[in-house]
Symmetry: none
Subunit: 195 residues, 4 copies
């Protein structure tokens, strides 16, 4: 994140091996066993190589998750805001229920006592996706599908919050399937006043 060493000389091989090892170890032993030592061992890499480029385990995991997700979570725009949101939120909920979710929850947990990681989490993971959602919502507002008297960011919060709430505090995956109902309900509060 804040590399003092020369990034041009960085070994791509090592970087890949480290990011992949995060998933390998998490899948094999659970996120609780994801330690810097375990990552280094699984990646066939020395510990200093990890510490050279990342400040903490959470930062590595965050990069690993970002790398794995890539641009795959792009926002759909079919013109139907309800359908698009349902699709997107379902996709997010599904992702957070699998391997990625296990690691992602660990990152959020670690960020509770690591302000730097929390900032990185918001900057690299949340903010870009929030921005894309904001753009989609703005389009919907312009199309008269959503009320205009509410900041788009607030709408995003209301929409995404239940997904995180259930991932972090919920009992099990079955509940996350109610996303469509949630979206529909929340949208009722977001529809234009005239509707």
């Amino acid at each position: 994140m804040t590399p003092q060493p020369n990034p041009e000389r960085r070994s791509e091989r090592a970087r890949r091996a480290i990011l992949d090892a995060v998933f390998e170890v998490a899948a094999a032993k659970g996120y609780g066993k994801v330690t810097i030592e375990a990552i280094a061992a699984a990646a066939g890499v020395g510990k200093p190589t990890i510490y050279r480029w990342w400040p903490s385990k959470g930062a590595v995991a965050l990069d690993a998750v970002n790398d794995r997700i890539g641009d795959s979570m792009d926002f759909p725009d079919t013109g139907d805001i309800a359908a698009d949101l349902t699709a997107q939120l379902t996709a997010v909920a599904t992702m957070l229920t699998g391997d990625i979710g296990t690691i992602y929850r660990g990152i959020i947990a670690e960020a509770q006592s690591d302000p730097g990681l929390a900032a990185d989490l918001r900057a690299t993971m949340l903010e870009p996706r929030i921005q894309r959602c904001v753009r989609r919502l703005d389009a919907a507002v312009a199309a008269g599908q959503l009320r205009a008297d509410l900041p788009a960011r607030t709408m995003v919060d209301i929409l995404y919050a239940p997904v995180y709430y259930r991932i972090l505090l919920g009992a099990g995956p079955d509940e996350t399937l109610r996303s469509p109902l949630l979206v529909r309900t929340v949208l009722e509060g977001l529809r234009p006043a005239a509707a």
Copy 2:
């Protein structure tokens, strides 16, 4: 939580000192420095005394928070569901911004990789409060203030999720002050169809 030793012989003095020490250490050094050793040292207690009565640091912290909150977070019922919810959610958000919140976030973090703690968290912290909220919402439904075609628990989720979302992922405390707006907006989606 599952004490083999005889609870009748338990030292109340030690229990109090331990629960208080959680806050003392968290306030002095941050939750990251709250370790069993630090708690024992601050409480003037041996480590086995802690392990005798609690299975993990998170369990101690959870008891400490529950002990500190007590019944102070009871749900108001003025007849005006919007006012009651706003009051309650603001109270929760305020609490989660102070010392208690620091520890509470740590407990949630720890629960991500400790299913037992997660269960305790839900059973002793969330569920009772959800139940009280559900009762209040049921009354509001009966009074025709809220739509009846949605399970009360789902409404609770939608209402509380943004608070947790901001506490766990938000940028800062200022944002949490928007709770009233959130409640109003969400309630729009929860009003009776006829309204």
Copy 3:
């Protein structure tokens, strides 16, 4: 050497296992592979247990050697100073050629850059044996077998120095067998002026 923790609660089992492990590892892999980690692993002991009672690897090794030697290197007194010195020096040279010697040389090497260890080495290993030798030489001086105008400590230096010289810088064990000749020669310079 300077134990902060309470020595009364010390585990004799662990102490024994650690001292024995030094020899075990040194015999199996050579003194170069004697690390704190290797000692801990071979002794079935945690690293902190070693660091709790010893300040460095060399200090552990010194204790191990002292423990192994015990009082076995006592000085003989048959009345014949030449025979006694030859016997003693041969015994020392023999000991320093075996397992103990391997470790002992390592300790001396480590002491070159660790003044504390050097002091311990002199205080626990060299000085007591020098004192015993001094006492024997004083008796020989009193018996008129050695010149009286030379401090006994200087005689000790002259007698022992070649043994260490060969152990630390010599080519091989065969040379150390010349001790009797050395003693005889050196003694020529130590005989009473009248002789």
Copy 4:
């Protein structure tokens, strides 16, 4: 020592800088801080350049010491063997008490667990000086100043051993000043039988 690369293309500038850097680092931080990395940094040289031409830190240090000493420690021959030996041994003891001695002791220490370095040490440092001393002693024997029934090498051992003994195991530099007394005493044992 065993250079695979072409010695003709070797950079004399780098060689000089490396040998000087050994003393520079040792003087500034002590021999304990003399690492290959520190030498390379102080010399403004890449680590591989050192590894290309020397097998270990000790080998570099040995070359540095040999380079520094040069031929300055030549053996005097005034005809008076006692005076010559005293002069020479005092010179050696003095040298081993200064900067060179610090490094030299480190080399001896390292040689305890590095047979190759030990061999180099003997071949390049000890043996030539022993040979010169042997020649001087042989001359003294021929002149009837020393007994003839003892190999000159053994005499060398007896004479030099105390110096090394004190450097490597002694308490402090003050003791090394007694060299003249030592030499005189030892010589008593080396004088011709007829004397």
